[in-house]
């Protein structure tokens, strides 16, 4: 006798297949909400010193302890989320705005100028991204503008290369040729036919870049190239706390470090999930494994 089992309902199958994507989205969503509602979440001011509570251990009064100025760490982590999310989103959008047109231009025109542009992008890609960002940050100097510029500049080549590859792969496909034959202009070809076809890969790269941007921003702040005092920023909080590790105030570095870890981890989960979602081969292999 053969027992037939019914396939799981479609929604349940989606979540079991993409649960890591869901976890990632959940964590990112949590930090976005924290960033939006930071002033409502804590009774403390993030930047006002209270030397009577200096270096207090985690307790009911200060759940994650206080720093060397007696400022509540949880409050500063909440406010730090605003900056980290802003830096990640702003630098990624700026990198897309610069990198994608460069890649499309170089891929579509395929002339000397396009080649030169892509070789410049290759030179940027040849350097380790973090080292390059630190060098650019150091050259520009401390501050939010410098931090954003540094992260944007090292992210641009990734988007340019992706857009270039997408353009080169698509521009001679029959549907593009047909559109061109019917008199479509360059703007229409790019806007209606090339860009939509590279949207999936760009979305994946953008999400992964968000994690990179948070980490790079924190690294820049760690070495003093971030936002000015007394703004709460996760990287500078880890840096400040590192001076107190030997003397036993472990909470000052640990909790902002965990905040950085969770959001970077979450962005990576989302990026990986979106890649799986966009890749038909991944979908097929998962279907096969589900069947087995």
């Amino acid at each position: 006798m053969v027992r037939l089992t019914l396939p799981p309902p479609r929604r349940q199958k989606f979540w079991s297949r993409y649960r890591m994507l869901a976890v990632g989205l959940g964590i990112v969503g949590f930090w976005v909400l924290v960033a939006l509602f930071a002033p409502l979440l804590s009774p403390y001011a993030p930047n006002v010193p209270d030397m009577s509570a200096r270096l207090a251990m985690p307790s009911l009064q200060h759940l994650l302890g206080t720093d060397e100025y007696g400022r509540d760490l949880l409050t500063r982590i909440f406010f730090g989320a605003r900056l980290s999310v802003f830096i990640a989103v702003a630098s990624t959008l700026a990198a897309i705005a610069v990198g994608v047109p460069i890649g499309i231009y170089a891929g579509y025109r395929a002339g000397l100028a396009g080649e030169a542009l892509m070789r410049v992008m290759d030179v940027f890609l040849a350097f380790p991204s973090l080292v390059l960002a630190l060098a650019i940050g150091a050259a520009i100097g401390p501050g939010l503008t410098g931090e954003l510029l540094a992260i944007t500049l090292v992210s641009v080549p990734t988007f340019a290369r992706q857009a270039y590859a997408g353009t080169v792969a698509t521009k001679h496909l029959p549907f593009v040729e047909s559109a061109r034959a019917t008199g479509a202009g360059v703007g229409r070809l790019i806007g209606r036919h090339l860009l939509p076809n590279m949207f999936g890969p760009l979305l994946v790269i953008s999400t992964l870049n968000l994690g990179f941007a948070v980490l790079t921003g924190a690294s820049l702040s760690f070495i003093g190239l971030g936002v000015p005092l007394p703004t709460a920023e996760w990287g500078s909080m880890v840096s400040d706390g590192s001076q107190y590790l030997v003397s036993g105030q472990w909470w000052m570095s640990l909790f902002p470090g965990l905040a950085i870890m969770t959001i970077v981890f979450a962005f990576n989960l989302v990026g990986d999930g979106l890649r799986d979602l966009a890749d038909p081969r991944m979908r097929r292999s998962r279907s096969l494994s589900d069947a087995v």
């Binding site: 006002v48 030397m51 401390p142």
Partner: protein, 519 residues
């Protein structure tokens, strides 16, 4: 990334643990003379050239290998013996005389002094050394000018005559400093320009046996030394930049002496029964400078108002953890002729608000403060000052810059406000105020200029009468303290930590260790 960082941290901790375990096996109860004395310094020497050296490690390495004509004397302060920069003792010169107006000094050299290569020390070496310094274009050649040295001549092989351009109260204090270390003229004249960056040849208690700038310097006793044999036959300086590693090494006996530790490290070490902290008030001051060419800091009332908004006690007790002391003048406590007259500031926001209103800034103002971010305690000072000034409606925007950028801005007098540290090379109020606050000086980054102060400083420099000079310097301080060109934040203490079994440490206000004193 986190995993990598964690792995790095664990690796560092393991390395430290290995160092500590290796060192614990050494007997620590009493330190035998045959056991080397190991001292942890915060950095390697930049140069051993006596006329160029300008850092804690280089200066100490020079001072323990070379002799000067005279040296700073030791005095009893309570039960403690310590060095003073205001009295002098014989060194290569057994005694000295001067003419009536103190413009010609004759130094009589000891006959048994020899360099570590066996060459005798003669007047020719002294003349060669001084003339080299007077002609040098390096960092410290200005000291010869500061000491008013006009000419140096050998009267005979053991007598040197130094003529000054005018009577100068700083002369003896200056020639006791390490730049005036006597070199072996026969060897030094033949050596190439950079040779002395990494070599030493002196007549002092120790000679440099080896130097690896990346890790350590080893000193052994100078076999030809004319004075009492130092207790330790060998002294090793370990160059350890990480303050927490220095802390852990001295706590475990891995090194016997450690210096330049953070206030937090000293607070932790104070609980250890195995180490002793030797703390003295230094003359190293920290102040908040305000550029007087940049409104509103050209207004004396604004500067006074901010002087009343400094949380002095918090900075000293909470940031410096009592490793600093309150100031009451722009001249540090301990420097001759110091007075607190005219300095009436305490943390009083009501008074500060009233003065701001009187200055026409009742609603406050905004200014940019440049911070040398390499100094962790200044970062804390700045954050607390920012919060305190905010209560007056004054917005202090903090611009963090690197150490090198800060120095460039400081030298250009381009900062609106800044925190700076100053430890006068010469223990004299004329030198101290002349460099910091005399109009037009390259080191006067606050651009403070008061014609009366300038006139009185010149008058005091040339006045041979000690009592009159004291009166002049105290009058200058009263004017400066009232006008508040700086917010005088605090005066650092200087702490040296020794492991059990090591004694004999003698504090000198120049903060340089005399290795020969340790027992």
């Amino acid at each position: 990334m986190l995993k990598k960082a964690l792995r790095g941290t664990v690796g560092s901790l393991a390395a430290v643990a290995a160092l500590l375990l290796g060192s614990v096996s050494a007997p620590a109860a009493t330190q035998a003379a045959s056991t080397p004395l190991v001292i942890a310094y915060p950095g390697s020497p930049r140069t051993l050239d006596t006329w160029l050296a300008y850092d804690l490690t280089s200066d100490a390495m020079i001072l323990n290998v070379y002799d000067q004509l005279i040296t700073y004397a030791q005095v009893k302060v309570g039960k403690q013996t310590q060095g003073t920069l205001n009295a002098y003792a014989p060194m290569l010169a057994t005694h000295w005389t001067s003419n009536a107006d103190h413009t010609v000094y004759t130094f009589y050299l000891r006959h048994n002094a020899k360099f570590s290569n066996g060459d005798p020390v003669t007047a020719a070496d002294v003349v060669w050394t001084y003339q080299k310094g007077m002609k040098a274009t390096g960092n410290l050649s200005f000291l010869a000018t500061e000491g008013a040295i006009k000419s140096v001549a050998a009267v005979n092989p053991y007598e040197v005559k130094i003529t000054l351009s005018h009577p100068d109260s700083m002369f003896l204090s200056i020639i006791a400093m390490y730049p005036f270390s006597i070199l072996d003229a026969k060897v030094a004249a033949k050596a190439s320009g950079t040779y002395w960056n990494s070599h030493e040849l002196g007549s002092g208690p120790y000679e440099l046996q080896s130097l690896d700038p990346a890790s350590q310097a080893v000193f052994v006793r100078n076999p030809h030394y004319w004075g009492p044999k130092p207790h330790y036959a060998k002294v090793i300086l370990k160059f350890i930049t990480d303050a927490s590693v220095r802390q852990q090494l001295v706590e475990s006996g891995g090194v016997q002496v450690a210096l330049a530790l953070s206030p937090l490290a000293l607070q932790t070490l104070a609980r250890s029964p195995l180490v002793t902290e030797h703390t003295n008030l230094s003359e190293d001051i920290v102040f908040f400078g305000m550029n007087e060419q940049d409104p509103p800091f050209n207004n004396e009332l604004v500067r006074q108002a901010l002087s009343y908004a400094v949380p002095y006690s918090t900075l000293i007790h909470q940031v410096e953890l009592n490793q600093a002391s309150a100031m009451d003048s722009s001249v540090p406590i301990g420097m001759p002729d110091h007075t607190g007259a005219g300095w009436n500031y305490s943390y009083n926001l009501t008074k500060a608000k009233a003065l701001l209103a009187q200055a026409g800034h009742a609603k406050g103002f905004t200014f940019t403060f440049t911070l040398d971010a390499s100094q962790p305690d200044w970062v804390q000072d700045a954050t607390l000052l920012q919060a305190s000034f905010a209560k007056l409606g004054v917005t202090m925007k903090i611009a963090q810059v690197s150490d090198s950028e800060y120095q460039t801005l400081l030298n250009a007098h381009k900062m609106q406000a800044y925190i700076e540290q100053w430890d006068s090379f010469v223990n004299d109020p004329g030198y101290h105020l002349g460099f910091l606050l005399a109009g037009g000086m390259a080191t006067n980054a606050a651009n403070y200029s008061n014609p009366t102060v300038n006139k009185l400083l010149t008058q005091a420099e040339f006045d041979p009468n000690t009592a009159q000079r004291t009166r002049l310097y105290q009058r200058i301080q009263t004017i400066i303290n009232q006008q508040a060109p700086f917010l005088d934040l605090y005066q650092y203490k200087w702490t040296v930590v020794t492991y059990q079994g090591v004694s004999g440490y003698v504090f000198y206000p120049d903060q340089l260790l005399r290795f020969w004193a340790f027992k």
